[in-house]
Symmetry: C2
Subunit: 223 residues, 2 copies
């Protein structure tokens, strides 16, 4: 399998600028790749501004950014492509052609089995929660530990993931705290970054992993 | 319109037991109602335990609780009912027959236009986000103010609601902080409880409201 993925928890850390905390990993990851990167900005409403942010950042790293939302296709075609063709095409190019895929936050969510373990409100309806499936498990980016001093009674991330695992046949969920990222190369997976990650498995105790951990065993949690 | 609704932000406050903070409002609300209350426990996986919690609590207030999940219908029928018949039937009984409806947290979400402004992860796929529509606006229960000391970079509730309002034709969203609830009687709506609420409107500044505020104008935010 040719797959090469860099799945980042979050684009911006509390102290730092856009993609600054994973700049080194991005440079290592895209090294020797041709100089053009395709950017998918659909997570935000203002796609022009978001594309400019990404374009400016990647320019400082030596890459040109093309955004799918700037293609000459009419809006309808882009919308259809977004739901069907784009997902299939991304999957094909990443898994068969070995084109490197980097996601951060929402881009990490959509690379997994499903978007059931994204955070916050489902403010836009999607006809399916199925995702691109570049890895055979789910990820919860921006994973957050409960604040012991909080008086808020809403469910914690851990409680929601446990509820997710109350459903049958749900894959394990890798909780990537902010500052954390997963590098996947073929069948090897390594935890990178400055924070630890947590692995939530259905019916099993949650396990913590330090940066540098080999998480290649996750490939056996097959679909 | 006969509608009578009590829409509570949350079932349990940090200090206190299940439904304790809104006990008085529940007693005022169900006063003179027949002694049986129909409980819909589908928000949690363990419906027996959740029903027992509600049943025990309402017993101390003088009410018997029937849970829809205990009906003799087979599972499939209940599942279908949950999605179609139950919603239609609840809507009919509340709006036409004047049966009082009380919701808390998820029960508040499903009483509104849609569940787009529920919190946290969409851990279970639903074929529609449309809700029962007992009021012509949305509610965000457990509404939470940003913590100025937090270093977490995930979106705040306010940011998500603003993203919701980037979509066309989205209704206003009443943010009910924990401890807050909305009493709707016919065309009158009053904010009750111990915390303030925030009203998010598309293209307009957010407005805060004190407990006791008359929010009857929300009925004019018609679809």
């Amino acid at each position: 399998m040719k797959r090469r993925l860099l799945l980042v928890s979050n684009s911006t850390l509390h102290v730092g600028r856009y993609l600054q905390h994973c700049k080194q990993q991005i440079q290592d990851f895209f090294w020797k790749v041709r100089k053009r990167i395709l950017f998918v900005p659909y997570v935000l409403h203002d796609r022009d501004t978001y594309t400019k942010t990404a374009r400016d950042k990647f320019k400082t790293l030596g890459y040109e950014v093309d955004s799918v939302h700037e293609t000459p296709d009419p809006v309808d075609a882009v919308r259809k492509a977004e739901g069907i063709l784009l997902v299939t095409e991304i999957r094909k190019r990443v898994l068969e052609d070995g084109i490197p895929y980097m996601g951060s936050s929402a881009g990490t969510n959509v690379s997994t089995i499903s978007i059931n373990t994204t955070n916050d409100m489902p403010v836009v309806y999607t006809p399916t929660f199925a995702a691109i499936g570049l890895v055979p498990f789910n990820i919860n980016p921006h994973n957050l530990d409960p604040d012991p001093s909080s008086k808020h009674m809403g469910e914690t991330r851990e409680q929601r993931i446990i509820q997710y695992h109350e459903e049958p046949d749900t894959p394990c969920v890798l909780g990537l705290r902010e500052g954390s990222m997963l590098l996947v190369e073929g069948n090897n997976a390594t935890l990178l970054g400055c924070t630890k990650a947590r692995l939530f498995q259905r019916g099993t105790q949650t396990t913590g992993y330090e940066p540098g951990s080999d998480l290649s065993f996750l490939r056996t949690d097959a679909q």
